[in-house]
Symmetry: C2
Subunit: 416 residues, 2 copies
C-alpha cells in the first residue's frame, strides 16, 4: 500500500469539527447539544435569494464564466461602492466560498516555503489553506488580556524575513470578534509598504459590527492598491454558508489575472448559487438592521453571561459573532470533550471549539474556547446555565481566582 | 509592488478557454460562433434535479457535512453498486466538482515535487491541479495514429522514478474519447502493484460509451483496493456542469480520512447543488438511452464529416463526447485563432480547442485540435461546412497529402 503524503499527514483537523464524534455520543445518550462550536447562523437567508432559486428558468445547469457571472461581478462592485470600496467588476473573481478565495490568494502570491505572518488566534482553516499552498504560517500572538487587539507592530516586523510574502488578517476577526481600528490598519499599511509585502484581508464579517464600530476595509488604504487582496463571502452576510460563493478582490491586475488561471482550472463557481447571490444583493437594509439587533442582544447575553461565571473571562468583541473565553480549567479541549462525553445538565450540554487550534503556537490558548453566538437567545441562556454548572463539578478545574486580575469590563479599544 | 508567485506565472492558461477573446471579436463582427471548444453539453438536466431545487423547503442555506450529505453519499454508493462498483457511503467524499476531487487526490497522495505519470494528450486542467499541488507531471505519449490507445506499458515503466507516486488516467478519455480495454487496465494494475503506486482514474464520462463499449472502472481491479482513487462528477452525467458536485472515491481509508481534512478546511460542497444531485440519482434509464443515441449520432456526423475533408484525420472514439482531429495546417492554434479572428463562411465560424495544450510535451499536437460534439446535429453539420471551406483558403495550409497514410477507417481497439 503506498503512503499518503506528508501534507495529508500533517494537515490539521478542524478544531471546529474535531469534537463532532463526541457530540454524536452525547446525542446518542438522548442529550440536547447546543452547538456553540460552528459559525452556522440560524438567521434565515434573504427571501430574494430563495425565490430566485425557486423561480429560476434554467433547463441546463451550465458552467458560468470562470470568474463568475459578469452581471453578478458588476452588481457586487456596486455593493462594494456603497460600502466606500471603489472597485469594478474586473477587480473581482467570484470563488467557491471565501475558502477558495484565500487559497487562490495564497497560491497567486506565495512560492513554496514562503512565509505569511498572521496574528493569532486566527481562523483555523488558514492552516489548511497554507498547507495546501505549501506556505508556512508565522504567527504573531495577540492576547486575550489585550482583547485580541493588533500585536505591537514591532513584534510583527521582527517576524519578517526574506521569505515573508504577505500578512494575513481577518477583520472583523474570527475567532476573536475583534475589529481593527483605523490606526491599527494604518500601521499595517506602513509596514506592508516598507517591506513590499502583500496584505491579504478576510473581511467576510463586514456586516457584523456593533456599538457603532465601522469596519474599515484594506481596500480603503491609500497607496496600497497593488498590495491588497480582499477575501469576501456571502456565507455570513446573507446566512448562506451552504451557497459556497465568495470573492477575491484586488486592484492588482496581475493578481486577478493569475488567480483567474487557477479559476479556469476548476472551471467555474456554482451556477445556481451565483443566481441566488445576485438576487441577494437586493436585500433591503431592514434585513441587516434586524440581524444586527439580534446579534448585539445575543452577544450581550453570551459575553456578559460568561463573565458572570466565577473564573471565566471573555473580552467584549465589537464584530463577527464569535468570542473567545478563558475558562478556569486544566485544558479547554479536555473540558469541551468532557462536556460532550461525560456531562449534562437537565439533559443538555454544549459544544464549543477549543481555542488552541486557532493558535499556531502549540502551547497557547490551552484554557480558551471559541464560542459562536449564532443560536436563539433562549438557547444561549440555557448554554450558559450548562457551562456555569459544569464548572462546579468539572474534575480538571483550576483556581478560579486565577482570572481575577483580568478586568471583566475591559472593552475593545475604541474605534475611529 | 510585490511579485506574484512562480506558480502563478507558470500556471498554464486553459487551452479550452484561451481563445475566448478571439471568439468575442468574432461575435462583435456579428458572426455566429459554433462552440466546439468546451464540453458544455446542450442536453437538458434531469427534470428531477431541477424540480428538487424549485421545490426545496430551505429557509437557511446551511453548510452540509464536509464530506457531503450522508444521504447523498449513501444513495451515490447504491448508484455505483448498480454499475458493479462495490463501495459504501464511507468510501465517498463529495467534492466541489471533479476538479476538487482530483486536487484533493493529488494533495493526499503526493508530496511536493513528487511525480505523476499521465498518458498525453490529457485533460489540460490536470496541469493546473498538479501545479496547485506542487506535483510534477511526467507525460507518456499516446498517438493519434494509434487512436490514442494506452502507450506500451514498458514506456510507462521507463518513466517511473523514486519520485513517482501515481499514474493518472482519464477513462473514457478527455480529450481523446478513447475507452481503455480491460486488457489495458490489467496491465496498469500490474504495473501499479509492482511499483507500489497510486492509480488515480478520472471516470466522469462513464455513461458516455458507444458501439457496445463498456467502461471498466479502476475500482473493479482486483487487489488494487488500497491503490485506487476514482474521480467522479455529475457535470456530464446529468448535464449539470454548473452544479460543481463531484466525488473522490476510494477503499483506502487513510486516503479518504486525509482528503476529508482538506474537505474540512473548505467547510462543505454546495448545499443546494447536492440536493439537486441526490434527486438526479432517480433519473430513469430512458434519459441516458436518449442521451446515448443523440451522442452516437453527433459523433458519427462529426468524425465521419471530419474524415471526409481532404487532409483531416480523426480516429473514431468510443467514449466521452470529444474527438481529437489532425488538420493539414502549420499550427492548429494559429488555425483556430484565424478561424475566429479572420474567417467566416456565410457569417459563421467555429471555435475549437488547440490540442497542443492537452500535451505536456511542448512540441506535440501542433496540428491537432480537440472538438466537443456537444451541439445540435444541425450546428455540427454547419461547423463541418465552415471547417471544410476554411481549409481551402487558410494561408498556413500544409500538404493535404500528408495525412493520407493515416487510415481514415481505423477504429478504436475493440472492447470486450
Amino acid at each position: 500500500m503506498p503512503d499518503i503524503s506528508q501534507k495529508a499527514i500533517h494537515m490539521p483537523e478542524s478544531p471546529i469539527r474535531k469534537l463532532v464524534p463526541y457530540a454524536d455520543i452525547a446525542r446518542s445518550k438522548g442529550r440536547t447539544v447546543y452547538h456553540l462550536n460552528i459559525g452556522q447562523p440560524d438567521i434565515e437567508s434573504p427571501i430574494a435569494a430563495i425565490n430566485a432559486i425557486k423561480n429560476m428558468d434554467l433547463k441546463v445547469i451550465e458552467y458560468s464564466h470562470s470568474a463568475g457571472f459578469e452581471s453578478y461581478r458588476n452588481k457586487l462592485a456596486t455593493y462594494y461602492s456603497s460600502n466606500q470600496i471603489d472597485v469594478s467588476g474586473e477587480d473581482i473573481l467570484i470563488t467557491t466560498g471565501g475558502s477558495e478565495a484565500l487559497l487562490f490568494g495564497l497560491m497567486t502570491t506565495c512560492n513554496s516555503d514562503d512565509e505569511i505572518i498572521i496574528p493569532e488566534p486566527f481562523y483555523a482553516n488558514y492552516n489548511g489553506f497554507a498547507m495546501s499552498a505549501g506556505v508556512n504560517v508565522v504567527p504573531v500572538t495577540s492576547t486575550i488580556e489585550e482583547g485580541f487587539s493588533l500585536p505591537p507592530i514591532s513584534e510583527i516586523e521582527n517576524k519578517i524575513t526574506k521569505k515573508t510574502k504577505a500578512i494575513v488578517i481577518c477583520n472583523p476577526g474570527n475567532p476573536t470578534g475583534y475589529v481593527y481600528s483605523e490606526e491599527e490598519l494604518m500601521k499595517l499599511r506602513d509596514l506592508v509598504l516598507k517591506h513590499n509585502l502583500f496584505l491579504i484581508a478576510d473581511e467576510v464579517y463586514r456586516e457584523f459590527c456593533y456599538d457603532g464600530a465601522k469596519p474599515m476595509s484594506v481596500m480603503q488604504l491609500d497607496g496600497l492598491e497593488q498590495n491588497v487582496l480582499m477575501i469576501d463571502s456571502v456565507s455570513k452576510r446573507y446566512s448562506m454558508c451552504g451557497a459556497r460563493i465568495g470573492a477575491l478582490v484586488s486592484k492588482n491586475k496581475a493578481v486577478i489575472a493569475a488567480a483567474l488561471k487557477f479559476g479556469q482550472a476548476r472551471l467555474s463557481p456554482p451556477t445556481i448559487d451565483q443566481i441566488a447571490c445576485e438576487a441577494a444583493l437586493d436585500t433591503p437594509q431592514s434585513y441587516f438592521d434586524g440581524v444586527q439587533t439580534e446579534y448585539v442582544e445575543r452577544r450581550n447575553i453570551m459575553v456578559n453571561g460568561l463573565n458572570s461565571i466565577p473564573g471565566v473571562f471573555c473580552p467584549m468583541p465589537k464584530g463577527a459573532f464569535y468570542c473567545v473565553a478563558k475558562f478556569p480549567v486544566d485544558n479547554a479541549e479536555k473540558f469541551c470533550q468532557w462536556l460532550l462525553e461525560e456531562y449534562s445538565f437537565e439533559g443538555q450540554t454544549v459544544m464549543m471549539a477549543p481555542a488552541n487550534g486557532f493558535y499556531s503556537s502549540k502551547h497557547l490558548g490551552l484554557q480558551e474556547a471559541r464560542i459562536a453566538y449564532v443560536l436563539k437567545k433562549k438557547s444561549l441562556l440555557k448554554s450558559l446555565v450548562v457551562i456555569r454548572n459544569a464548572l462546579k463539578v468539572y474534575p480538571g478545574i483550576t483556581d478560579i481566582e486565577e482570572n481575577k486580575n483580568l478586568s471583566k469590563e475591559k472593552p475593545q479599544h475604541d474605534q475611529h
